[in-house]
Amino acid sequence: MRRNIAGIAAAVLVAAVAGCGSSDSPGTATTPGGTTQVKVGVIPIVDVAPIYLGQQKGFFASRKIELTMESGQGGAAIVPGVVSGQFQFGFSNITSLLIAQTKNVPIKVVSNGVASTGKAGADFGGVAVLADSPIKTAADLAGKKVAVNTLKNIGDTTVRESVRKAGGDPNGISFVEIPFANMPAALTAGQVDAVWVVEPSLSAVTGAGGRVVAWNYVDAAPNLTVAVYFASTKLIADKPDLVKAFTEAMNESLAYADAHPDEVRDIIGTFTKIDPAVRAKLTLPKWPTEINRASIETLATLGTKDGVITGTPDLGKLLP
């Protein structure tokens, strides 16, 4: 969350500065052939496989968009990057964008990003414990120490909901911030009782005998929309055609990725270093083109209830 707050604070700052001065239009360059060069801020994780696949398949080129992926570590650099115009589009989880929206950061969602599979037992993220842990169900997590990648974000909100639905008391859970990649080691070393972890680190935990006790994305809302692609409201106003073309290309990429899991597993090898054996087995998320509005409303409600989001996000302004 530290990074997240910093990122959002930075975005607010950029927005304020841009509002005061004569800000230049988001830096898009158009080549003589009419192709627009577009930079997209992404995190190099499984979730963004469709945009890489779409680029390879030419879904963007056919709409005269030349993509460059700029992979930042974590979303903190992406929201300010999009607001300041360094990236035309960015990838971020919903809760971060909801928090940004309550701070009036001028951004708007342009396409779906990634969604939960909606299947308990086969989702791309869950709360895992060691094989011999006394924690058997989500309700047992009450009062325990649970690792999340960022505090006060989508992880702790959805984990609390899992515990609530299982009949436990979510208030006593102490959340600690640990990067996903370090969670298997932290769990083994006993630094935490449970970890909320996503692929490929989830495979590392279950591969070592760990058990998943809660499927928090599934418990939070049916077919939860986890992350989306977004742009600055300035770009949307200045270049509506470009945004429309990007959304179309993105939707085609999402649909293609959802229908071709084997190609997804191959493309993941090009922008991550996930071991081929792990890649072949890990649980892929779903990539529907439709943004699940109801699930985002649920996340907003949960976030407000847990104090993760202060104020009420205006979904009408955030969602297309």
């Binding site: 910093a6 930075a10 700052l13 950029v14 801020g41 190099p44 994780i45 700029e70 992979s71 930042g72 570590q73 903190a76 650099a77 300010p80 990057g81 300041s84 360094q86 990236f87 990067p179 996903f180 990649a181 370090n182 298997p184 080691a185 083994t188 490929p200 680190s201 495979s203 590392a204 070592a208 922008f271 991550t272 270093k273 996930i274 071991d275 792990v278």
Partner: protein, 245 residues
């Protein structure tokens, strides 16, 4: 070095540390061999070295020019002393949010932090070097009516050069540290970013292999810096090693 490698091979094998989180040296070596076969790996090394070299060059030129000017004008030196002492201890990594705001995740972010960290190393050494000019020699030069430029060239520069080169050697190491750190934290292109990707991909042996490569780069840079120092200061008594009677 060999001892370290043996230790790294043995510890995970006898179970002192978990081989899942610290793989034996042989597995790291295998991962390194795999990496060396990819274009991505070499592009990463190139990106890191380019950021290092450009950053160091800017820092050295700026450090020497600013140092000589401030150092040779006593009023300027007094005027800037507190500013330098205030800015110098600010850790470069504290500027990461600023770099992200200004330049996002590209090379310029890395350069900002590399230059900031390396500049002070050079500047402070140059200031010491300039202050070390022998007053008798300075007065002799003045009584021979050497102009300002000639005094810099024949008096100040030879006196300051050993200090400057020490500064450059320190800056070279610091520049590499900051280049890797920035890439690791922000994700600007280079070896650091690849370490972060390997980490989030749970590719543990690959991660160690890349960390090992950063160590090799550091050793290489230090060797080159020392050799350059030795050559450029061949005339100087610290290198010649003769006792002046």
């Amino acid at each position: 070095m060999a001892g370290l490698l043996v230790l790294l091979e043995v510890l995970p094998r006898i179970g002192v540390v978990s081989p899942d989180y610290l793989p034996p040296a042989s597995r790291i070596a295998a991962a390194l061999a795999d990496e060396a076969g990819t274009a991505q790996f070499w592009a990463g090394i190139r990106d890191t070295l380019v950021a290092w070299a450009i950053g160091l060059l800017i820092a050295v030129v700026a450090g020497v020019v600013v140092g000589v000017i401030i150092g040779s004008v006593p009023v300027l030196r007094a005027f800037t002393a507190s500013t330098v002492e205030f800015l110098r201890p600010i850790p470069s990594v504290a500027l990461i949010p600023l770099a992200v705001l200004l330049y996002g995740t590209d090379l310029r972010s890395t350069l900002l932090l590399v230059v900031y960290a390396a500049f002070w190393q050079v500047l402070v050494q140059v200031l010491y070097g300039v202050a070390d000019v022998d007053p008798v020699a300075d007065e002799t030069a003045r009584s021979y009516r050497l102009g300002p430029w000639a005094r810099v060239r024949y008096l100040l520069w030879p006196t300051a050069l050993p200090y400057v080169l020490t500064g450059v050697r320190l800056a070279a190491a610091v520049a590499l540290i900051l280049a890797i750190t920035t890439e690791l934290v922000i994700g600007s292109p280079g070896l650091g970013a690849q370490i972060a990707v390997a980490q989030s991909s749970q590719a543990v042996p690959t991660m160690y292999a890349l960390v090992f490569v950063t160590g090799l780069l550091g050793v290489g840079i230090n060797v080159i810096a020392r050799a350059a120092e030795h050559r450029l200061l061949a005339w100087h008594q610290s290198v010649r090693g003769e006792v002046i009677p």
